[in-house]
């Protein structure tokens, strides 16, 4: 039976916790707005890029001299998973759901006798995967996920790293693993294969079907420039989605934490008052019965 003082302390501490969680919720809400705006702003570029890719890739993919980034190495023995998580915790199941999906994917690929390598972006994912898969984490990119603003330069840096590994023959297939932002309360773990490029299903308006493009310089040269950039754009898109998802998840988690602590305060206060009354009654009885005994 906790004493009255214990209860008072307990209530005070839960109130402090509630203050912190509700402040974190507000901060996450404002960061979410910014992240969402950024995600929206990045869409036109990605859309145009996909369009040009679609136009180009269709014609070139079948040629034997097609760039490796587009057609792959022809094998799929070694898989690279780029696991994108947040740098910070306290955002509900955000990080753990990515890590869980990564584990499942690794197990499945291994069951098919494929080799798996990991590239971690974001601290939490690395921390959670390190114990089990420390030997196959080939690279870790820190300090990107925690930034106030996602910078395209960061995405390009990651994409360059991936391209370098690919050129060095470290892997055959590369898949991004991140949380797609669907709404504040729902983030969807998404796998997106970026090497070899899955041909984008470009939906074209009727009037464009069969439009014949002129290329200047020739297609393969443009493609050579375009592919690394496409890689960067895909990575950037994933980073931005992830950032929005992280803030959304944190906001939802902190909202329910705030509500839970409110309930707890209510319950504890009730308990405290009952105990206090019981004690007063008990003391009165003691005084009265003491007086009667005289």
């Amino acid at each position: 039976m906790p004493s009255l003082k214990d209860l008072r302390n307990r209530i005070a501490s839960v109130k402090q916790t509630r203050k912190i969680t509700s402040a974190m919720k507000l901060v996450a809400a404002s960061k979410l707005r910014r992240a969402q705006a950024q995600a929206e702003a990045s869409r036109p570029y990605a859309a145009r890029m996909a369009e040009i890719m679609g136009n180009l890739a269709a014609g070139v993919a079948d040629l034997p001299e097609a760039p490796k980034l587009l057609s792959g190495t022809g094998k799929e023995e070694v898989h690279l998973l780029v696991v994108m998580t947040a740098d910070r915790g306290l955002c509900g199941g955000f990080n753990s759901s990515i890590v869980r999906a990564a584990r499942q994917r690794i197990a499945r690929l291994r069951a098919d006798n494929k080799e798996v390598k990991l590239l971690c972006v974001g601290r939490k994912g690395r921390d959670m995967l390190r114990r089990e898969y420390g030997d196959i984490i080939i690279d870790y990119i820190a300090g990107v996920a925690g930034k106030r603003r996602m910078e395209y330069a960061d995405a390009r840096m990651i994409a360059d790293r991936i391209a370098t590994l690919f050129d060095a023959g470290e892997f055959d297939v590369c898949t991004l693993l991140f949380n797609r932002f669907r709404s504040v309360i729902s983030q969807v773990v998404t796998f997106r294969q970026i090497i070899p490029v899955e041909p984008p299903e470009a939906e074209k308006p009727e009037d464009e079907a069969g439009a014949i493009y002129e290329f200047e310089p020739e297609e393969s040269v443009i493609l050579g420039e375009l592919l690394p950039r496409n890689l960067a754009v895909q990575v950037y898109g994933a980073l931005v989605e992830n950032a929005a998802g992280e803030q959304g998840a944190r906001m939802a988690a902190m909202d329910s934490a705030t509500r839970n602590s409110g309930e707890m305060i209510h319950r504890l206060t009730l308990h405290y008052n009952r105990t206090r009354q019981a004690q007063i009654t008990k003391e009165l009885i003691e005084i009265i019965s003491g007086a009667e005994a005289l």
Binding site: Q38, P44, Y45, A211, Y213, E216, P217, I222
Partner: protein, 138 residues
Amino acid sequence: MADKLAFELVAPERLLASLEVDMVVAPGAEGDFGVLPLHAPLVSLLRPGVIRVYEGDKVTKRVFVAGGFAEVNVRGLSILAEEAEPVEEIDLEEARERLRNAEEDLADAREPSEAERARLERAVAVARARVEAVENPV
């Protein structure tokens, strides 16, 4: 049909411009080219240089791009640029400084790998084009 050209300039982080204009002259990798309304479909690489936007016979906008892609289709012209800034916002001193630094980096690099060398040379080319964009308004 369209007597204006729909022109869009997009960077990875945002849409920079979306206008209806009369003509755009873009710095193609194989020479500048002008795009008028109803231009034939075209995909081109861009070199570092200046995009000029025309309304009537006058240049109304000059934007420096560090390279990118241009796509013309029936809907108009879209330019995908990784770096873009209006020419009038470039500070000439700062641009020269950047060119000097880039040239020094290239000169200082000892036995750079091929990729490293290409990157440095590209930085110099971009910085030079940026200075020229301010010095020789066309």
